[in-house]
Structures are given as structure tokens and as C-alpha cells.
């Protein structure tokens, strides 16, 4: 839906060649595109304005580094400014107070307060070994208290028993007492969702604050929020004085400009981001990642990290050795498919890579989705051990049996075998792994673990460009082979 800022900027700067520094006229034209990109990313207008002013100041007269296009130069400046605005330093929860330390969660209805409460509680317990009590003060939405109780049960975190008929303030009081008596380190207060113009509810919130004296007050906000983000962040901050922000649904396909708006307006740090429905899908905020996302540049750093986390290093090492010998059998292919799915499937991987927005769209249009991995996995599962090790034995009758066994067609079996052959061939030549992509493939389980120079990554993240990668670059061998095209060879088309 949105073009990436870098591609737009390259259109602006295409006619400029061989210039030493960015002139004011160039910059102004680029600023218009930056403004548009930020607005499409839902950054609030007044925040956009002060932001582009800063970028303009920084960009005019800036020397364009050789081998970098002016467009990339501007992207880098914008990126740096975004990171600066979003807050460079991580801001962990401040629990430095006499226990039980109260953490109060506030926000609009449906922003994800209850889920986030449970996620933070779980994180505190798992990572800091703290004893956490959760209490729901939401007496308004049907079954809200029940929701927190169930989440507590699922994650084995204590919740305050529900007493019907109590007011939120009374519950807060009871929670703090229970926290003291029960020897809890942290008491989390999950308040009811409210619109920030709902005066009585805002008063109630202030009352709860007085009662519980929370050390942290976190505003939970949907990262998909539009221009209203400024209003709501400012109102909540004015009324209760928030100490930090938690952005939810960062796993959506929104650009998350609200993060910038809220941070800029309140000056309060973004402490966590929610990245999924599962109870452990809570991450520390990384300004660079969000900056890249707002600009539509993807995020190569987190791709590598994510891949590194997921892939079993030992297995990858073994595979690398076998690959060098040219022995890449169907068992290995099945492994690849599984790992691909684990790091979020095709779209998950593609979404993280910079500059593939368009390719991703083409892939979606061509109907290639992650179901293909499942089907291919099924085909391999329907083979005997011998067949997996020596695909050469597969003749027509075996293929028919496999197709029947996996609920596919002989044609699909053939496609898989062809893909495997291509991959095995590429493995032999790519086994040594040249350049970053080679190493990244390693990270994806195609070779040994990547040892990527952090400085190099930083540079990539800033320029949004991979060094030494041809224009329609390739995914891991076999999965790619010219992603620039509208469809992937060997992957087939959805019928």
C-alpha cells in the first residue's frame, strides 16, 4: 500500500548526479516526500512539522558520501533524526522503590492493557525473578476481571481474588494491602479502558493513583493509532503523569508512526512493544527498528537477530559440513522448511528485509504463501527414509504413492524435487558463503552461523542498502532465484 520512502526519494534524486553537497532546493523537494511518508505512517501532523524542520537543518549543505546516492543520504539523516526523537537509550522499568512496587496500566478501550499487564508480569517473573500480583480494576467491561484471572492462571501469576461490587479505588487499596501482606515485589494494576475525554473516569484514574501511589504509570497504546495519538497521549500525561509508553500490535502491518507522535508529545520513553498474541510476545523497544519501519525500510538487523535466535546452531553447522560435500538431502530440505516457518514464514522474513516491499506485494499477488511450506513438508513426510536420503530412487510409481499420501499431485512432488535439486546445486557453489548474503543464508540455516560485523550492520541499517547485493537480490538459494520476478521459480503458483 505504501511505497517505501527510499524508493520515493530515489525518484526525487534520480536526476541529480555528481553533486557534492545537498542544496536547499534538493532538500526541500525531498522534505515533501519525507513529510508524506511520515503522514502515511500516521505520525501526527504537528510532530511531522517540527521533525521535518530539524531534518532540513541537518540536511542542507550536508556532504554526500561517495558511493551513496543523495536519496540514501537523506534517508540516513531522516533515520538518525527519527532514532534521536524516539529516544536512543533503552528505558527499562524502574522498580527501585519499597516493595510492593505498584505499576498502573492506563489507556483507551481495546488498546491491549490486560494482555500487556500479563506479559509484563510474566517478564518480571521470568527475567528478574520477581513475585508479581496482578489486579484488575476494570469493573466496566463485561468479564474483564475474569480475563485477567484466566491470564494469571495460564501464566501462573497470582491475581487478586475478584470481589464483586467493589469500586476500582477499593480494589486498588485491597491490591496494595494484599501485596504487602503476601510479600509481593510488584503489584500490577490493570485499569478500565477509557476515552480521555471521559471526565469522571479520568478523575477515577487520578483517585486510583492517589491510593496506590504507583511507581510506574504506563500508557498502553495501539501502534495503529492515527492522528489522535497526540491528543490521547497528551491527555493521559496531563491527567495522571505517565512514566512510560507501551505500544501494542507492533506485529501488525501498520507503520507505527504513533510511536513517534506520542514520544515527541510526552517526552516519555517507550518501554516495551507488544509483538504478538502470545504471553511472551513483548520486547524491549528498539528505536532503530521502529524508525526503519516508519520509513518503510524493513529491518535487516532484527532479521539477522531473529534468525540467529531461532536456528539451532549445531544443526546448522552439521548442515554446512554436509553441504560442502554436496550432500544435501530431502531431510535437510524439510529442516529448512521448518525453520523458515519458525522465523515467521516467507512474509515474516521478507517483511524484515529492506527494499522488498514491492517484491512482497508481487509475491502476495502471485498467491505464494506459507501454506506451500506446509504442503512441501507433507510431501517429504510421505517419503520413506531411503527416499529422503536418496531422492534419485523416486520413479513414477513412488511419486504417485507420495502424492496420494500427502494429498498433493505428482506435479507438486516433481516441483519439490526440482527445487531440491536446484538448492543442492546452489549449495555446492554457495557453500563457502561470500558477502553478507552468503552469511545471512548461513543465518537462515543454510550454512554456519553468521558472524556479521556489527559496524557493517549499522551501516546497512542506516542506508537501507545491502552491500554487494545485486538489485533483485536472492533469498536463500532455492527459495529465491530472482525475487525480482513476479513469482518464485520452483515454488509454483497457488491454483
Amino acid at each position: 500500500m505504501f511505497e517505501s520512502l527510499s524508493s520515493r526519494l530515489s525518484a526525487v534524486f534520480d536526476r541529480l548526479t555528481g553533486r557534492g553537497a545537498l542544496s536547499e532546493a534538493d532538500v526541500n523537494e525531498a522534505i515533501r516526500e519525507v513529510r508524506r511518508a511520515l503522514l502515511e505512517a500516521d505520525v501526527a501532523l504537528d510532530v511531522v512539522r517540527s521533525f521535518t524542520d530539524k531534518v532540513r537543518d541537518r540536511a542542507v549543505g550536508q556532504e554526500v558520501i561517495r558511493s551513496v546516492t543523495p536519496g540514501q543520504m537523506v534517508v540516513k539523516i531522516v533515520h538518525d533524526q527519527l532514532v534521536e526523537t524516539l529516544g536512543k537509550d533503552p528505558a527499562p522499568l524502574d522498580l527501585n522503590a519499597t516493595p510492593p512496587v505498584a505499576i498502573m496500566m492506563v489507556g483507551l478501550q481495546g488498546s491491549g492493557k490486560t494482555t500487556t499487564t500479563a506479559k509484563i508480569a510474566r517478564r518480571l517473573r521470568d527475567r528478574q525473578k520477581l513475585k508479581v500480583l496482578m489486579a484488575s480494576l476494570d469493573t466496566r467491561r463485561p468479564a474483564a476481571q475474569e480475563q485477567l484471572r484466566v491470564l494469571g492462571e495460564q501464566n501462573e501469576i497470582d491475581t487478586l481474588p475478584v470481589v464483586a461490587g467493589q469500586t476500582p479505588t477499593q480494589i486498588a487499596q485491597r491490591a496494595m494491602t494484599a501485596g504487602r501482606l503476601g510479600g509481593f515485589d510488584v503489584v500490577m494494576l490493570d485499569t478500565a479502558g477509557r476515552t480521555h475525554i471521559d471526565e469522571p473516569l479520568m478523575l477515577e484514574m487520578a483517585e486510583i493513583k492517589r491510593t496506590a501511589a504507583p511507581h510506574e504509570i504506563l500508557l498502553v497504546a495501539d501502534s495503529l493509532t492515527g492522528q489522535d495519538a497526540v491528543q490521547l497521549a497528551r491527555s493521559f500525561d496531563d491527567r495522571v503523569g505517565i512514566t512510560g509508553l507501551v505500544l501494542t500490535r507492533v506485529d501488525g502491518d501498520g507503520r507505527g508512526g504513533a510511536a513517534l507522535s506520542m514520544r515527541a508529545v510526552t517526552g516519555k520513553p517507550i518501554k516495551f512493544i507488544g509483538t504478538g498474541e502470545k504471553a511472551d510476545a513483548l520486547e524491549e523497544f528498539n528505536p532503530s527498528r521502529i524508525a526503519n519501519r516508519i520509513l518503510g525500510m524493513g529491518d535487516i538487523v532484527s532479521l539477522v537477530e531473529k534468525a540467529a535466535e531461532t536456528i539451532d546452531a549445531e544443526r546448522a553447522q552439521k548442515l554446512a559440513e554436509r553441504m560442502k560435500k554436496g550432500g544435501f538431502d530431502l531431510n535437510d530440505l524439510a529442516d529448512q522448511l521448518r525453520q523458515m516457518q519458525r522465523i515467521g514464514g516467507m512474509s515474516g522474513v521478507l517483511g524484515l528485509l529492506p527494499g522488498v516491499g514491492k517484491v512482497k506485494k508481487q509475491i502476495e499477488a502471485a498467491g505464494i504463501d506459507d501454506r506451500i511450506f506446509k504442503r512441501q513438508g507433507a510431501i517429504i513426510s510421505s517419503m520413506t527414509a531411503t527416499e529422503r536420503e536418496k531422492p534419485d530412487v523416486l520413479k513414477a510409481s513412488r511419486k504417485r504413492r507420495i502424492a496420494a499420501g500427502s494429498g498433493t499431485t505428482v506435479e507438486e512432488v516433481n516441483k519439490l524435487l526440482k527445487m531440491h535439486r536446484q538448492m543442492a546445486d546452489m549449495m555446492k557453489s554457495a557453500g563457502k558463503g561470500k558477502g553478507l548474503m552468503g552469511r545471512m543464508m548461513g543465518g537462515l540455516g543454510m550454512g554456519s552461523m553468521p558472524k556479521v560485523d556489527p559496524a557493517e550492520l549499522e551501516r546497512i541499517a542506516q542506508t537501507g542498502k545491502l552491500p554487494g547485493v545485486p538489485p533483485g537480490f536472492t533469498l536463500p538459494p532455492g527459495f529465491g532465484g530472482g525475487l525480482g520476478g513476479p513469482r518464485l521459480p520452483g515454488m509454483g503458483k497457488k491454483k
Binding site: 500500500m1 505504501f2 508524506r36 503522514l39 502515511e40 505512517a41 500516521d42 501526527a44 501532523l45 504537528d46 517540527s50 483507551l108 478501550q109 481495546g110 488498546s111 491491549g112 466496566r140 467491561r141 463485561p142 468479564a143 474483564a144 475474569e146 480475563q147 484471572r149 484466566v150 495460564q154 469500586t167 476515552t195 480521555h196 475525554i197 471521559d198 471526565e199 469522571p200 478523575l203 495501539d222 495503529l224 493509532t225 492515527g226 492522528q227 489522535d228 495519538a229 497526540v230 491528543q231 490521547l232 497528551r234 491527555s235 496531563d238 491527567r239 500490535r249 506485529d251 501488525g252 502491518d253 501498520g254 507503520r255 504513533a258 498474541e277 514464514g345 512474509s347 504463501d369 501454506r371
Partner: protein, 357 residues
């Protein structure tokens, strides 16, 4: 504390208690938040010209939109009282629209319509507001369509949307609406993922007297939908409302699950679901376009419900959605009460956005 239970008061006294409350809230808000966005800082405060003439829901919508229309009309008045329509003025006008979440393209189109034939002319505030309302209405009028039941038995309504957009609440309100129209309603608790979602729907079932078909948490939602339809047919209810778990539209596996629910329903009734409603949170920005597109493609959305218009969110994204997808907008949600669901009316919405009353 007098104002401790506002929702209840409001619910009990309906529209009557509102103007007073509105003023109080307005004043308090102005007192508490004295710094409007810089863009609007020089805008004169909008005159509190409460239109008493129009009935309950319009006032509520206006109250809901008051922030947005206040901001908009504020900036428009400051722009146009004594000014010529020149490029700078138009740009500021476009900015005001962008702040209402209309999106860059839609704001540009509306600004262009305003520019045409009027460039360089002196325009009064009312003229500009009128043109704005007309432009917005032009986009919205074709999509303002009520939800019409086709008389099938049961009429199956599937409610889908991103997490936290208000699906379950909307279902509760819809159930009450149909019940008041004399229909028999059955609810299916298809959100088998989120903790206590089933309980939440059951409470709505109690409030509206509608039976709730539910299974345990973690159960297969498609299977539940199938059973619910079977039961609804057997018991001859008029309307079956099926809740679903909230899901982000870019999560392929969750969208596939939704596709399965639709597919399974068709096994019993090829026409089902007769209506697929997508709930959109009014605070959502440009991502709402992606939500409409993908849910539309996968679940075959037939109509939209915009929720949470009782906040300061402007809901201007509806204009962009209408222009691009033309999907009917059936209802707007303006509060948490059981009757806080109103049919969508393009004229009123457009006038409210433009600050005309």
C-alpha cells in the same frame, strides 16, 4: 462523588443529561489541556453553539466528533474569515483534513475540489464549511446503507476485525437492536482464543436474553460456528450473530482460520454468512485501509461498523475508505452502553466533521 458513574447516568437519562455534561467536560478539557497542537494554537475557541433542535443520537455523534470538528472548524475559521483562497491557505486547509485522519490523498482530493474555480476568491467561513461538508458527504453518501435483513432464517452475521476494535461489544449492541425489532437472536462465541472472551459474550447474552453457543477456550472456532448454525436452524431463530477472535490482518495463519469459518458455514447454507461486518476502531489511522482490504478479500466483508466515535478520534479515515473501497457503512459505535450503536448517516457525519450543525 457525584460524577463517579457517568456511563450509568448517561444510560439512564439518555440524551437529556448530555448537553450539561458535555459543557462540563469541554470546560474541564480546556482547563486541563491548554496546549492544543501548534497548528491549531491560534485557532479561536469554537463557540459552544449546541444545536438543541436535533435529536439524541446526532448530538451524541457531534459530541463524539466535537474535538475533531472543533479543531477543524477552529482552524478553518482562523483561516478563512478574512483571507483569500491562496496556495498557503489551501495547504493549511489540507493539513487540517490530514489531522482528521482523512489521509494524504483524500485530503488532497478534497482540497483540490475546494480550489477548483475558487482560487483567489474571498470566502466566508460558512461557505468553506459547506463545501467541505459537501465534499465529505459526496464520498460518504453512497456508502451510508442500513443493514437490511433479507428474511432468511437464520440470517447469519459474522463479525470480524482486529483485536480490540469492539467486535464483542458491537455484537451485544446488535443483539439488543434485533431483539427490539422483535427478532429472535442467537450468539456464537467464536472468540475461543482470548481469555474470558466467551464470558464477555455470555454477559451480553444475559443482557439481551439471547442464547449463547459456546465451547471451551481453545476450541476450533470453525467447528463452533458450524454447530451454532446447525442449532440456529433447528431452533428457527431469526438472526445468528457469530463473534470471532480479533486478528491482525497481516497474520496469514489467523486469516486462514477466518477463511475456514466462512467455508464451513457455507457447507450448511451456501449463502451464509449473509453479512460479514468488519469493526473499525475510529482511533486507527491509515492502517484501517489495509484492514478493509485484507479482511474484505479473505472474509468477504459486506459492511463496516466504526466504533469508539465517542472519543476524540475523528474517524476521517472512513472518507478514504469510502473513496477506495465503497463498502457500506452500517453503524457507528458511540459508547459502551447497550444502545450506543447508531445507523450511519452520511449527511450528519459530514456536517459534524465540517463543524456545521
Amino acid at each position: 462523588m457525584a460524577g463517579e458513574k457517568p456511563g450509568l447516568l448517561r444510560r439512564m437519562f439518555g440524551g437529556g443529561a448530555e448537553p450539561a455534561e458535555d459543557t462540563v467536560a469541554d470546560e474541564a478539557r480546556e482547563a486541563e489541556a491548554p496546549a492544543p497542537p501548534p497548528a491549531l494554537a491560534d485557532a479561536p475557541p469554537t463557540a459552544p453553539d449546541e444545536p438543541e433542535s436535533r435529536g439524541g443520537w446526532f448530538q451524541r455523534l457531534r459530541r463524539g466528533l466535537s474535538r475533531s470538528s472543533g479543531a477543524l472548524s477552529g482552524s478553518i475559521s482562523s483561516l478563512f474569515t478574512q483571507r483569500k483562497l491562496d496556495a498557503a491557505t489551501l495547504e493549511e486547509f489540507e493539513d487540517a483534513l490530514i489531522q482528521a485522519d482523512l489521509g494524504v490523498d483524500t485530503a488532497g482530493a478534497v482540497t483540490e475540489a475546494l480550489r477548483k474555480g475558487r482560487f483567489g476568491k474571498e470566502l466566508s467561513e460558512d461557505e468553506v464549511k459547506g463545501i467541505l461538508a459537501a465534499e465529505v458527504e459526496k464520498a460518504l453518501a453512497p456508502v451510508a446503507k442500513p443493514l437490511v435483513l433479507g428474511g432468511r432464517k437464520p440470517e447469519v452475521i459474522l463479525v470480524v476485525g482486529v483485536n480490540g476494535t469492539g467486535k464483542t461489544t458491537t455484537i451485544g449492541k446488535l443483539a439488543a437492536k434485533f431483539r427490539d425489532d422483535g427478532k429472535t437472536v442467537m450468539l456464537a462465541a467464536g472468540d475461543t482464543f482470548r481469555a474470558a472472551a466467551i464470558e464477555q459474550l455470555k454477559i451480553w447474552g444475559q443482557r439481551t436474553g439471547a442464547p449463547v453457543v459456546a465451547r471451551d477456550i481453545g476450541a476450533d472456532a470453525a467447528g463452533l460456528a458450524f454447530d451454532a448454525l446447525e442449532r440456529a436452524r433447528a431452533e428457527g431463530v431469526d438472526v445468528l450473530l457469530i463473534d470471532t477472535a480479533g486478528r491482525l490482518q497481516n497474520r496469514t495463519e489467523l486469516m486462514a482460520e477466518l477463511e475456514k469459518i466462512v467455508r464451513v458455514l457455507k457447507k450448511q447454507d451456501p449463502q451464509a454468512p449473509h453479512h460479514v461486518l468488519l469493526t473499525l476502531d475510529a482511533t486507527t489511522g491509515q492502517n484501517a485501509l489495509s484492514q478493509v482490504e485484507i479482511f474484505g478479500r479473505i472474509a468477504g466483508v459486506t459492511g463496516l461498523v466504526m466504533t469508539k466515535l465517542d472519543g476524540t478520534a475523528r474517524g476521517g479515515i472512513l472518507v478514504a475508505i469510502a473513496a477506495r473501497y465503497g463498502l457500506p457503512v452500517h453503524f457507528i459505535g458511540i459508547g459502551e452502553g447497550i444502545d450506543d450503536l447508531e445507523p450511519f448517516a452520511a449527511n450528519d457525519f459530514a456536517r459534524a466533521i465540517a463543524g456545521l450543525a
